[in-house]
């Protein structure tokens, strides 16, 4: 035993270690919360823990593989027919859309407004892992090497899902519109009223908190992105108003809305680069063949 002044020296007691680690934790929390100082460290640590995420996503991947392997020929044929029919409908609407787009460009030209540019989109696969319980975030299998950036909009076939909040070279984390920390500027499609949509942590609804009783908004109204703030491109569906409660004791209406995107079910999502599309085509470039 080593002694110092006659007293045996022992390793740090658990209390000492606790105090030191608590102080270290507080330092990390402050740095991580206040600034982006820890981005490098976090990115490096993410690479280290990536194998665990891969392992955790195996059960769902196996289940989906097995389900597809056992799909009978009849099921596949039915799916094929349904998809072909849907594709026909979409192509017809695309023709109408292209005509409308041309008319819109002519009208804007007449008014002297800037032309609307198409958006580029890239499909991304969801990594089947769960993040912190009761937070609404998803992990995508795309990263900086695909050009993904923080703040990039994430959408699915039905509407806006959220935005990218963290990127690493090979994966990225997106915060959904239902996360308590997320807000998105929207436009009421029918009336043109501009307002904001906030998440609450509830996986199936969002709220529109700052409207008074005189606001022109009704149940069933479609809320689309207004493009204000520059993060999200304008015109994409965000949510549909599901209930409006006018409590005389409250200064504002209590408005709930149902998100347009399939936030809890999607397997593939789209990453959007606003204003960087080529020509008139809005077809997204697809990911490598999904397993």
């Amino acid at each position: 035993m080593i002694t110092l002044f006659g007293k045996p020296l022992r390793g740090p007691t658990s209390l000492t270690r606790l105090v030191l680690l608590v102080l270290l934790s507080i330092a990390l929390l402050t740095l991580d919360h206040r600034g982006q100082h820890l981005e490098q460290i976090r990115a490096a640590l993410k690479v280290v823990v990536y194998p665990l995420q891969v392992v955790a996503s195996i059960p769902v991947a196996v289940y989906q593989h097995t389900r597809e392997a056992f799909a009978t020929e009849r099921t596949l044929r039915e799916q094929n027919e349904a998809l072909t029919a849907e594709r026909q409908t979409i192509l017809v609407r695309l023709q109408q859309f292209e005509a409308l787009e041309a008319e819109n460009a002519r009208l804007r030209d007449l008014l002297g407004s800037a032309a609307r540019v198409a958006d580029r989109a890239l499909a991304a696969e969801l990594l089947e892992v769960s993040l912190e319980p009761f937070s609404r975030r998803i992990v995508l299998a795309r990263g900086t090497r695909d050009g993904v950036y923080v703040g990039q909009p994430v959408i699915d076939a039905h509407g806006i899902m959220g935005q990218i909040t963290e990127v690493a070279p090979h994966i990225a984390t997106a915060t959904l519109i239902t996360d308590p920390s997320h807000a998105i500027p929207v436009l009421v499609s029918r009336s043109g009223l501009r307002t904001m949509v906030f998440g609450t942590g509830d996986p199936d609804s969002v709220v529109v908190p700052y409207l008074t009783a005189s606001a022109d908004i009704r149940e069933g109204d479609l809320l689309v992105s207004s493009g204000m703030g520059g993060t999200f491109p304008a015109g994409y569906p965000v949510a549909t108003v599901s209930s409006i409660d006018n409590d005389p004791n409250e200064a504002f209406l209590t408005i709930s809305a149902r998100p347009a995107a399939l936030l809890n079910h999607g397997k593939q999502v789209l990453l959007v680069w606003p204003g960087q599309g080529q020509g008139k085509s809005r077809a997204p470039t697809s990911a490598k063949a999904a397993p």
Partner: protein, 163 residues
């Protein structure tokens, strides 16, 4: 295998923690969220009770930090909470070991609540406090699973002769 018994023991403990971490991040439907326990907390409590000289505050902190990276939460959030419950468990381990299983489960419940409380408090300070009562039910589920998990981990410990 030329691994010393101590190294084998360490590998066993590490393996149980890795399994617990993977269980924590396994995807599930959102309706199931309130019913999924914190496996890492439960495993940490077990090893702090059974092998306090090997698994203590530092291990808890590292586990918590790993969870922070995997969960995408602020670095230090779960690290602080896990190191705190490791500390309490190590300090109380002589008494905890003597308790009958159901009384242990109650203590585990308190520890799990404490863990969730610290995390909720930090989340509250940074603006995203959990909004529902359902946030706390994982601790209850964890305490209910404790007797079963204790037996499993004890078997693992005995098979691997972890001291």
């Amino acid at each position: 295998m030329s691994a010393t018994p101590e190294a084998r023991g360490g590998a066993t403990i590490l393996a149980t923690f890795l399994v617990a971490i993977v269980l924590n991040i396994l995807p599930g439907p959102s309706w199931a969220e309130p019913f999924l326990p914190d496996w890492v907390a439960l495993t940490l409590i077990y090893w702090c009770m059974a092998a306090p000289q090997r698994v203590s505050v530092g291990t808890g902190w590292l586990l918590g930090l790993t969870l922070d990276v995997l969960y995408g939460s602020l670095l230090g959030q779960h690290a602080l909470a896990k190191s705190a419950i490791a500390f309490v468990t190590v300090r109380l381990h002589p008494q905890l070991r003597m308790f009958p299983r159901w009384q242990q489960a109650v203590s585990v419940l308190m520890l799990l609540f404490f863990n969730q409380l610290l995390v909720a408090w930090i989340r509250g300070l940074t603006g995203h406090a959990p909004g529902t009562v359902a946030y706390w039910t994982p601790s209850i589920v964890g305490a209910l699973l404790w007797p079963w998990l204790f037996v499993i981990l004890r078997d693992v410990r005995r098979r691997a002769h972890v001291s």
